[in-house]
């Protein structure tokens, strides 16, 4: 393959895209300059492909090809349909923040209830003042593209000591067909604060769309944060999300991601443990069918001593679907007494299903306990026969074993209601199989 040609091809497509969108992208002149710089970096790199090590298993040039034009801002009719989708996906008791095709919609959000407890701005507002939120440390083309194109997002700040009385649910609703939405959000959690944040990606009739999201999460000391991401995009959609997480000292962080949608998805998380004594859990489940491609790539950076990190990941892969898990644990020279472990298991439900697991440990300290494990296999025939001999039909027997398999990751969700909600998503996915 001639890389130079492919890059130029992609670059040109984006170049048109950027030029036509530029007038609609919010920000001060300094911000627009930062966007242009990010875009130029993207244009130079092009979409990631399989010869870039981090993207070896998720070749966006082959899987996605080109970036679609920016979605138009939703009109009144679209917002009415979005309201129905929000209602269908809202988690009981949570306070909603809604983005429709990449645009924050206050009317669909619980702004009044939220501002009594948290600081809330939109990305659009923030970019009128400065470009800081567009600047994330990265040489990754999709992150640069997101910085160039981000139209909106939520900028949340949870004050020191705040104990949120209800979870916050950010709902991304896709309405437009054959268009892209670029969002970028910030969640800043203060010292001693306690918060649960849910992010849902859903479609309301949208087809063949692309989502690019970036989330910058900063968590202070002595905090307790749960973050649950539910990706249920349309079966022909693309969702590329990057998370940048910095964790302070003596803090507990519990991340969970569930992917049950999108033709191509990648969640890449860059997590830095920057304060001692913190405990990080990052767990996830991919439920993939047909030709879906779901990638979870995590880089956990133990920058300081005495932190614990745990990653439990489960993939259930049917038909010709493809699940990717890449987990890298970095232990810096000073980060003694680090305890970092990851375990990933893939369940292949068909002969053509594919799982790629790539664990990496980069350890520069000498007094640490780190480990990883990876397995891939089919359902155990002896277990299936036992269940069938007790009266369970094939699909029901499979469903029971699959639930048990993903349960090992789902049970890490501490909140009873949210855990049940996620179990319900898995159950419905399994029902659709049978």
């Amino acid at each position: 393959m001639n890389v130079a040609v492919a890059k130029t091809g992609n670059g040109r497509a984006v170049s048109d895209l950027f030029a036509s969108a530029e007038g609609r992208l919010p920000g001060s002149p300094a911000v627009i300059a930062a966007r242009r710089e990010a875009f130029e970096t993207y244009e130079r790199l092009g979409l990631p492909h399989r010869r870039i090590e981090e993207w070896k298993y998720t070749d966006l040039r082959a899987l996605v090809g080109e970036v679609l034009p920016l979605a138009a801002a939703p009109d009144a009719a679209a917002l009415k349909r979005a309201a129905d989708a929000v209602k269908a996906h809202a988690i009981a008791g949570a306070r909603k923040l809604v983005l429709v095709d990449g645009v924050f919609v206050a009317d669909l959000s619980d702004v009044k209830a939220l501002v009594s407890e948290v600081g809330l701005k939109t990305l659009r507002e923030t970019l009128e003042k400065d470009a800081a939120l567009l600047k994330t440390v990265s040489t990754d083309a999709v992150i640069e593209l997101n910085a160039a194109m981000a139209t909106d997002g939520v900028v949340l700040s949870i004050a020191d000591g705040a104990q949120l009385s209800a979870p916050i649910q950010i709902i991304h609703v896709a309405m437009a067909a054959s268009a892209s939405a670029f969002t970028r959000s910030q969640l800043a959690v203060g010292n001693g604060a306690r918060a649960t944040i849910i992010e849902s990606f859903v479609a309301a009739g949208a087809k063949a769309y692309q989502v690019s999201d970036a989330v910058i999460v900063t968590i202070g000391d002595n905090a307790d944060v749960a973050h649950i991401r539910l990706l249920d995009d349309a079966p022909d959609a693309v969702n590329i999300t990057s998370q940048f997480v910095t964790v302070g000292a003596n803090t507990k962080v519990n991340f969970f991601n569930m992917t049950t949608g999108a033709a191509v998805s990648r969640l890449q998380g860059f997590i830095t443990l920057a304060g001692e004594g913190s405990e990080l859990a990052i767990n996830g489940v991919n439920l993939l069918k047909k030709t879906e491609h779901g990638d979870t790539t995590l880089v956990v950076d133990h920058a300081v001593p005495n932190c614990v990190s745990r990653e439990i990941f489960r993939a259930v892969i049917d038909d010709r679907a493809h699940s990717v898990f890449q987990g890298r644990i970095i232990v810096r020279p000073d980060a003694q007494k680090t305890d970092g472990k990851m375990m990933t298991r893939a369940l292949l439900l068909s002969d053509e299903a594919e799982a790629d697991n790539k664990p990496e440990l980069e350890i520069f300290a000498d007094d640490v306990s780190c480990g990883h494990g990876a397995t891939a296999g089919a359902l155990d025939d002896s277990l299936l026969f036992y269940l069938k001999a007790r009266g369970l039909p094939e699909k029901q027997a499979q469903a029971l074993l699959i639930q048990a398999f993903v349960g090992e990751a789902i049970e890490q969700i501490a909140d009873d209601g949210l855990r049940e909600h996620v179990i319900g998503i898995a159950e419905r996915w399994l029902e659709r199989r049978s």
Binding site: F385, Y386, R390, G391, P393, L400, L401, Q403, A404
Partner: protein, 249 residues
């Protein structure tokens, strides 16, 4: 009335024939023991009746209540009333025993067109049976057979037998891996389920089990056939003389 009729059954595993024309009739209310040396085909027979994959029936038939059992999927056989108590019950991590019992029972009832059990009725029944089998309640909250001792696993099989109320119970080497006390508890549980409408086929290598579950008929299997049938005294005879006389035949 004949509950189970195995007629001239020939079975292959991969390229090897294990059963060479086995015939066996079990009537309602009867307890049959099948004895025989290792490799005589006892467990193969139990697996073929339950519908385990990997066995090829090349000739003969199995009728259950007059219906062709070999045409049915394993779960259909279970719903019709065939129950195999496994020699080595599998461990299923992550599937709570209670959830498994309820799911299985309701799947069988659904297949028969019956209403699902109500939760209070189900719990009452499980509690009753588990108490009589000396199964502690916390065992039912654990994953199916996970961390169970050999005796607990066998008692869990008997518990299912009592809950599902099958008309044919096949006990495959129930005594393997059990000490005398564990064996007695399991056997008492089985005896409590003897009824004029229910038949049992007890597969065992040793006569010992038959002191606890006393059979009406004893069959001796050798080289894939039933070579001799008789009353319960046949088991004692075997204990004294061994299987050699049949193996020579």
């Amino acid at each position: 009335m004949a509950l189970l009729e195995v007629k001239d059954l020939k079975v292959r595993v991969e390229e090897r024939e294990i059963l060479h024309g086995l015939t066996l009739t079990v009537n309602e209310g009867e307890v049959h023991a099948i004895m025989g040396p290792n490799g005589s085909g006892k467990s193969t027979l139990s697996h073929v009746i339950a519908g385990k994959p990997g066995y090829e029936v090349t000739d003969g038939q199995i009728l259950f209540k007059g219906e062709d059992l070999l045409e049915m999927a394993p779960e259909e056989r279970a719903a019709k009333g065939v129950f195999l108590a496994f020699q080595y019950p599998v461990e299923i991590p992550g599937v709570a025993t209670m959830n498994f019992l309820r799911t299985a029972l309701n799947a069988q009832r659904k297949a028969r067109g019956e209403d699902e059990y109500s939760t209070p009725d189900f719990l009452k029944k499980v509690r009753e049976v588990s108490k009589s089998l000396n199964i502690p309640q916390d065992m039912l909250k654990r994953g199916v057979n996970v961390g169970f001792s050999g005796g607990e696993k066998k008692r869990n099989e008997v518990l299912q037998m009592a809950l599902f109320e099958p008309s044919l119970c096949i006990l495959d080497e129930m005594d393997s891996g059990l000490d005398i006390d564990a064996l007695r508890i399991a056997a008492d549980g089985v005896n409590a389920l003897r009824s004029p409408k229910r038949a049992m086929v007890v597969i065992t290598h040793y006569q010992r089990l038959l002191n606890y579950i006393v059979p009406d008929v004893v069959h001796v299997m050798s080289k894939g056939r039933v070579v001799k049938s008789g009353g319960k005294e046949l088991a004692l005879e075997l204990e004294a003389s061994g299987y050699t006389q049949f193996e020579a035949a």
